[in-house]
């Protein structure tokens, strides 16, 4: 059932309040607090104030029009980033309180969620003013069988190296460890998604033994490297 005008206005008001509250909280926790510290430049304090003013202007202009979004989202975040850049060493990691930083991160997450546009619980596509009536378009294709399983395996596998990278504590290796973990995760998810989603567009290779043949080179290399590892393990 389409929403009435009053319901739309009420939802818009709630959304604007959510943006204002979450944005104000994120700004207070991560922008206002550091500019009140001793050593913060005047310019940083000005840009921090400007950020708050831009947030207020964006909320006042509304969430739908482009101007409200430009002020309340892009300009507000931009002014906050400029403030952080001007603060320099005052917000270096060794100066940050972990609890305050975590709360600030939560504030920015809530701000991002508030700006998001999830589907309304009772909303239907026909509510959109740009809705074009007509027959629904049928999907051109369906996901192949077991696509979700392949993608779930790849995604779960990608999470492992990302979590284990935090064990690398050596100064120069820690960044490398995270970079390697991200590369591994991206490779796993990309391969998993490619296999899971695009299989339906391809002609299956029959007989199955031909699939073994097309993967022969990497399989032989895997066999060789596993053999080398076993020899190294046995020889100590």
């Amino acid at each position: 059932m389409p929403l009435s005008v009053v319901e739309r206005e009420a939802k818009d008001a709630v959304r604007r309040q959510s943006i204002a509250l979450s944005g104000l909280y994120a700004w207070a926790a991560t922008v206002l607090y550091p500019v009140t510290l001793h050593g913060a430049s005047t310019l940083a304090r000005v840009t921090a104030g400007l950020a708050a003013a831009l947030l207020g202007a964006g909320v006042a202009l509304g969430t739908r029009p482009p101007l409200g979004r430009a002020f309340g989202l892009h300009a507000f975040v931009g002014a906050s980033v400029v403030t952080w850049m001007l603060l320099g060493p005052l917000i270096a990691p060794d100066h940050l309180d972990p609890a305050r930083a975590a709360l600030g991160a939560v504030g920015w997450m809530l701000f991002a969620f508030a700006w998001g546009a999830p589907r309304e619980p009772r909303g239907v596509p026909e509510d959109d003013p740009h809705f074009v009536p007509g027959e629904p378009l049928p999907p051109r294709n369906e996901l192949p069988r077991r696509a979700s399983l392949v993608l779930a395996v790849a995604t779960a596998g990608a999470a492992l190296p990302l979590a284990l990278a935090f064990r690398v504590t050596r100064t120069y290796h820690s960044l490398f460890g995270h970079a390697v973990a991200v590369a591994c995760a991206v490779a796993l998810v990309s391969a998993g998604a490619d296999i899971a989603v695009r299989r339906g567009k391809w002609v299956p290779v029959e007989p199955a033994s031909r699939r073994l043949a097309q993967a022969m080179v990497p399989l032989v290399l895997v066999g060789m490297i596993l053999l080398a590892g076993a020899v190294a393990l046995v020889s100590g």
């Binding site: 399983l149 392949v150 395996v153 790849a154 779960a156 596998g157 990608a158 492992l160 190296p161 284990l164 990278a165 064990r167 690398v168 504590t169 050596r170 290796h173 490398f176 460890g177 390697v180 973990a181 591994c184 490779a187 796993l188 391969a191 998993g192 490619d194 296999i195 299989r199 567009k201 391809w202 002609v203 299956p204 290779v205 029959e206 007989p207 199955a208 033994s209 699939r211 073994l212 097309q214 993967a215 990497p218 399989l219 290399l221 895997v222 490297i225 596993l226 590892g229």
Partner: protein, 60 residues
């Protein structure tokens, strides 16, 4: 046979994920050579899994 190859490709994908995890774990234990070994093994296992699961492109 087809199901066996499908299962093998899934096993290789899981093995690649495990090898990557072992590689990053070894890096955390300061065993750099072992880390390199596992990461290369993981890359090859992933390539094998992809080549096994990837059916031939239409028209090729």
């Amino acid at each position: 046979m087809r199901n066996v190859v499908d299962a093998l490709s899934i096993v290789l994908l899981v093995a690649a994920a495990v090898a990557f995890a072992f590689g990053v774990h070894a890096l955390g234990d300061e065993r750099d050579l072992a880390a390199l070994y596992f990461l290369v093994t993981g890359a090859l296992l992933l390539r094998s899994a992809t080549d096994l699961l990837r059916p031939k492109l239409d028209g090729r």
